[in-house]
Symmetry: C2
Subunit: 246 residues, 2 copies
Amino acid sequence: MTTQLEGDGVGVQDSGTDRLGVAWPSYPHEVLGVVLSVRQSQLCVLLWRRRLSPQRGRWALPGGGLSADERLRGAITRHLAVKVDVHEIAHLEQLATHSAVDRDPRGRVLATAYLGLVPSDADSEPPPDTTWQPVDDLPQTAFDHRFFIDAAVERLRAKLSYTNVGFALAPQEFTIAELRDLVSAALGYQVSPTNLTRVMTRRQMIEPTGATSAPGRAGGRPAAVYRFARRELTITDPFAVLKPPR
Amino acid sequence: MTTQLEGDGVGVQDSGTDRLGVAWPSYPHEVLGVVLSVRQSQLCVLLWRRRLSPQRGRWALPGGGLSADERLRGAITRHLAVKVDVHEIAHLEQLATHSAVDRDPRGRVLATAYLGLVPSDADSEPPPDTTWQPVDDLPQTAFDHRFFIDAAVERLRAKLSYTNVGFALAPQEFTIAELRDLVSAALGYQVSPTNLTRVMTRRQMIEPTGATSAPGRAGGRPAAVYRFARRELTITDPFAVLKPPR
DNA sequence: TCAAAAGTGTTCCCCTTACACCCATGA
DNA sequence: TCATGGGTGTAAGGGGAACACTTTTGA
């Protein structure tokens, strides 16, 4: 079998043919979105319930097919907007591509998943049959979607520690208490607001806006309002060890 | 356009059709290997020179098509063995999938790249038209392969710091001086053997075999021989900050 | 005995963590 | 003035980096 792509053209939608005349197979390709957000102090993933078989009744990741004229990132953005009405994705990155031959019983489909993060204050009453499911209490999921979800959560938790991804889970402005809630929910354990402030400030991830928020009805000192200094992914702690010499 | 895959079967090699009768396009899919190894104290990538257009004469990553009955990992393993005679891959992980519509002028092909690591003592006189190219001095490369190479190097450098991936670049047994050479080459800057030993020992990544190696002709104290304690990928320094409470 | 190579000990410094203490507000 | 929630100061501990010093060999 000749597998290196050389010579004459390879047509989309058909089996390709290389210059030796050997068939070059084609596969349908789907994109899936693992959309995470903190809802009611829990890290949640957006799932919708399948109405049809196979896997009828199970919870699945939103997504769909890759069209001939679009790229993977464009495809997942489109599907999330159209199908589950998600428009406020603050961060989107590719996770992995799965290729098990029988991952879909109807025939072979390759799947590329993306990790998408949505701020906790983004509106989104999700459409019918779609909900925010806490990742610590997942129902039975369809196909191999569970692997993608686990990978996404793991990736997020790791990146919270050495990048500023937190911005993608947080509102534009927030108090330290709110940020602590978000980060604790995302990581799955409590972090102290004291040190969270210090670490994030030292790394210049967050900065005070100057404003303060009104205290609750029980009183208390008004909280300072912060914002993320940058709202694009930045690596803030590049190397743990083996740093380059200064 | 209906893009969610539901209902009737989707055939490989053909355009699929979902239950609404809307076409589900298929694409050829190739796998590429970014095979890295330290050669003569330089981090190198295995490239082969294209003999045919397009991109004739440019250096390309080894790889090839995905067959109907195999998965991506199997495909890249097969291609590396058959085409560039690489059998001693100590670590293999998926890097990314590129989907630019025009990434290959002959027609649309999706590409998934893998990062492969080969120990520095693996034989491999590479086949004709194939060489180990230092990543700091790359020639002009074909298609979008340069992006994959850069991503691979970046991934390796990051993981050297918080995992034991080093095992995949090192021989079974080695002295600290040899390990220092490898790590320095991979990272692109000198690391001190003193602290390298301490860090890797504390994390139980390496352990002495008890043997010593003969000194060179100029004399000198014989070096202790070490090995990696585990030869599978292990995360040794999970979180830089925001650790869970003890 | 000297040079070369390898390994160890010690110190410094920065960062994270823990925790006590102080500040601002509503009732 | 008290309870409540927020923020700051300070000390402890760990780990990595730097560097001097010791050990072991060949010539």
